[in-house]
Symmetry: C2
Subunit: 215 residues, 2 copies
């Protein structure tokens, strides 16, 4: 019975995601769904990415959070439109809440919309929000075994960001093991090894994001 219920929920989510996708296509807005565990560095990545791109294009952000607006507060300095979705305990965003949030944007004045999903490596990967693509983020202190243990997201995503590479010398994280583990799950996915705090490796991510925006 629970499988049937889950199928209904996912079907209804998919219908609304289709609507969202059509709307964004008609408005020429690229939507990126950013997913990671809690504290992997999603907001710091968005700070860096907004700082890099906000002069040359119009960025918007949807912040998914269980109960606070702390992440949105950190992005206010970029003077961009931000909408907070508080899930009130919900473990992922869905296309219905995204559709509602889009009403608060002037979509004619947005080129790229980043969605920072709720911090969770599992449930968000199952819900299509109408995005152009998902980006998976994982950080080195979480361990080198995450792609194999949480494969759904790494199969679904169009790119993987490995954050906090600056902490590798202080942990038992094995970069070769991680790369191999990821390769087993998704052989051709682009991997960006970065440190959002130090700035390492970000230019490759910016170049790649720039290409996606221009496609």
């Amino acid at each position: 019975m629970e499988i049937k219920i889950m199928k209904n929920i996912l079907d209804r989510n998919q219908d609304k995601a289709r609507e969202v996708r059509e709307l964004l296509l008609s408005k020429k807005v690229l939507m990126v769904n950013l997913i990671s565990s809690p504290g992997a560095g999603k907001t710091t990545l968005l700070e860096r990415t907004c700082s890099r791109f906000c002069d040359e294009m119009k960025i918007g952000v949807i912040e998914g959070d269980i109960t606070t607006d702390r992440d949105a507060q950190r992005l206010k300095k970029y003077n961009i439109p931000i909408v907070v979705i508080n899930t009130e305990g919900g473990c992922h965003l869905d296309s219905h809440s995204i559709s509602k949030a889009l009403d608060s944007f002037d979509l004619d004045n947005v080129n790229v919309l980043f969605v920072e999903n709720v911090g969770n490596l599992i449930c968000p990967s199952q819900f299509d929000l109408g995005e152009n693509f998902k980006v998976a983020m994982v950080s080195t202190p979480e361990g080198d075994d995450k792609p194999g243990k949480y494969p759904m997201l790494f199969r679904e995503a169009r790119a993987v960001l490995l954050n906090k590479t600056d902490l590798i010398p202080y942990t038992n994280f094995d970069l070769d093991c991680f790369r191999l583990d990821l390769q087993h799950v998704n052989a051709r996915i682009p991997l960006f090894e970065i440190s959002c705090i130090k700035g390492d490796g970000l230019s490759e991510w910016y170049n790649w994001m720039g290409e996606q925006i221009r496609i």
Copy 2:
């Protein structure tokens, strides 16, 4: 409608959790439900805790994992009974899967049963497994803002473990902020600041666990 469905699922889970709790009480088994984000250090904590206690009491472990048995493999060296529950994409354990797993244990020969839940800071906090209590684990690289952002678990748990304190010098983690954030969510909860890798602070955790077992 989804709220009603969720209520039904939780009600059925609660009924089975009651059965599990009665069974464990009759067998004098203490069950601890360990919850954290992916990669916070649950398995390393269990390695340490098994190593400390396995000579003086009979320990069992239930390993909740989405798809692999990697965590269970790491605990095999302690020669203790271990049952793996693969949730096949499911984001939390429930009391029905625990009840089934208990059939594989000789409960007359178990004093403490640790349940390592699926790596997820959100969903597992909502599902009573029939445990005596939940323990919340969070690691310093996840940031000092986790109790406020993910309050449900920190309200539900009987103790909090802050792991990877050895990484504090290399991150922007503020211990005072974390303590304050936790205090706002759950003022009286015991907090153990530990490094499972280095062994720091573990004796306080062992003492506390020892007390819980003897109560």
